[in-house]
């Protein structure tokens, strides 16, 4: 991305975030929310996050990783397991990072 593109991206993201946070607060009149829309809205956030996260974990330069000695996979598994156990996002970050660090520095993966 060029610097101009990044500036536009940041300004656009700021605007999109303000509009979504104030979507039903900013208009002076009540907006009706159709059922199908509110149902679709339930699934889009988790879908968007999963779509970004999984390729970051299992792919390298556009290719699915072909071997199992990848620290990211084990770090992500550790983080997910921690979340299932303790329901803590902070714990997910810490446990996953520790596993990543241990495998990278300890085993040189």
């Amino acid at each position: 991305m060029s610097t101009l593109d990044i500036v536009l991206t940041i300004l656009g993201m700021a605007l999109v975030t303000l509009i979504t946070r104030g979507f039903f607060v900013l208009p002076s009149r009540e907006l009706p929310l159709p059922d199908w829309l509110s149902q679709g809205l339930r699934y889009a956030p988790v879908a968007a996050l999963a779509a970004i996260v999984l390729p970051e974990i299992v792919m390298t330069q556009g290719q699915l990783i072909g071997h199992w000695q990848d620290a990211r996979v084990f770090a992500a598994l550790a983080g997910a397991a921690w979340y299932a156990w303790r329901r803590s996002i902070l714990g997910t970050i810490v446990s996953g990072s520790l596993v990543l660090l241990a495998l990278r520095l300890g085993l040189g993966w």
Binding site: T9, M13, T20, L26, S28, V46, A48, A75
Partner: protein, 247 residues
């Protein structure tokens, strides 16, 4: 439109302002850690210092920022990044519908300010403190107490992360902490079978369609996941069907 309740004079010594601060204080370390991770990730992805600072201060939405970074790094078009931001932020649209009865009476300029500051955890604490959906004078100092602490405990570590990211060796993989934060957030959204299926479909579709240009794999993945989840919601249960084929 109803007239706003008379808030009266209040400052940071107001008991509701203090209460807003103390409610938020328990989760501030978690917010701070995530802010730090986001700040580091912004620098490590190659954003120049002024742009990273601008993103932190102007966008002020951690998951959207973390989600946008890999897309920016891989040169995705602006509209794909913005569409992804909108999708990741859709939860705010749902929350804003519940904010409305509390905030609607105030002038537009104030609603704009409040909209910028109204983050997820502020919503959670506010709705616990004021379950009845109507505007009350005590809500204004409470709102600003909680949002002030939330904003500071996010922005200060984020700026620290931006400034000091380059002194951290890249082999430590601190940038991956951003992915882990998103992973934890994704896990926290898996409430039932439909959301779990949506996440699985989206993840697999994003990997399978990775070769698409313009990062369109993200768009394809979201569309596929929402469609499958809505089908699961609306499809009649058919007990005679064989077990799910998860290939």
């Amino acid at each position: 439109m109803p007239t706003p309740p008379e808030a009266g004079a209040w400052n940071w010594r107001h008991p509701e302002f203090k209460r807003g601060v103390s409610d938020m204080a328990g989760v501030a370390p978690g917010i701070a850690a995530w802010g730090l991770v986001t700040g580091v990730a912004m620098t490590q992805v190659g954003l120049p210092l002024p742009l990273a600072l601008a993103m932190s201060l102007l966008v002020f939405a951690g998951s959207a920022q973390l989600a946008a970074l890999p897309l920016i790094a891989s040169g995705a078009p602006v509209w794909v990044v913005l569409m992804t931001t909108a999708c990741v932020n859709l939860r705010f649209v749902i929350l804003s519908a519940q904010w409305r009865p509390y905030l609607a009476p105030y002038p537009l300029a104030q609603r704009l300010r409040m909209s910028y500051f109204a983050a997820d955890l502020n919503f959670a604490f506010f709705m616990q403190r004021f379950p009845a959906p109507r505007a009350e004078p005590a809500q204004v100092p409470y709102f600003w107490g909680g949002t002030s602490l939330n904003w500071l405990s996010w922005q200060i570590p984020s700026v620290v992360g931006i400034l000091f990211a380059e002194s951290i060796p890249s082999t430590w993989g601190i940038g991956f902490a951003g992915v882990l934060a998103l992973l934890g957030l994704t896990c926290s959204m898996l409430h039932d079978r439909a959301t779990a299926v949506a996440a699985a479909v989206a993840g697999c579709a994003a990997v399978a369609a990775y070769a698409l240009p313009l990062k369109l794999n993200i768009v394809v993945a979201i569309a596929a996941a929402v469609a499958i989840a809505l089908l699961l919601d609306h499809g009649k249960p058919r007990p005679a069907m064989p077990a799910e084929d998860n290939t």
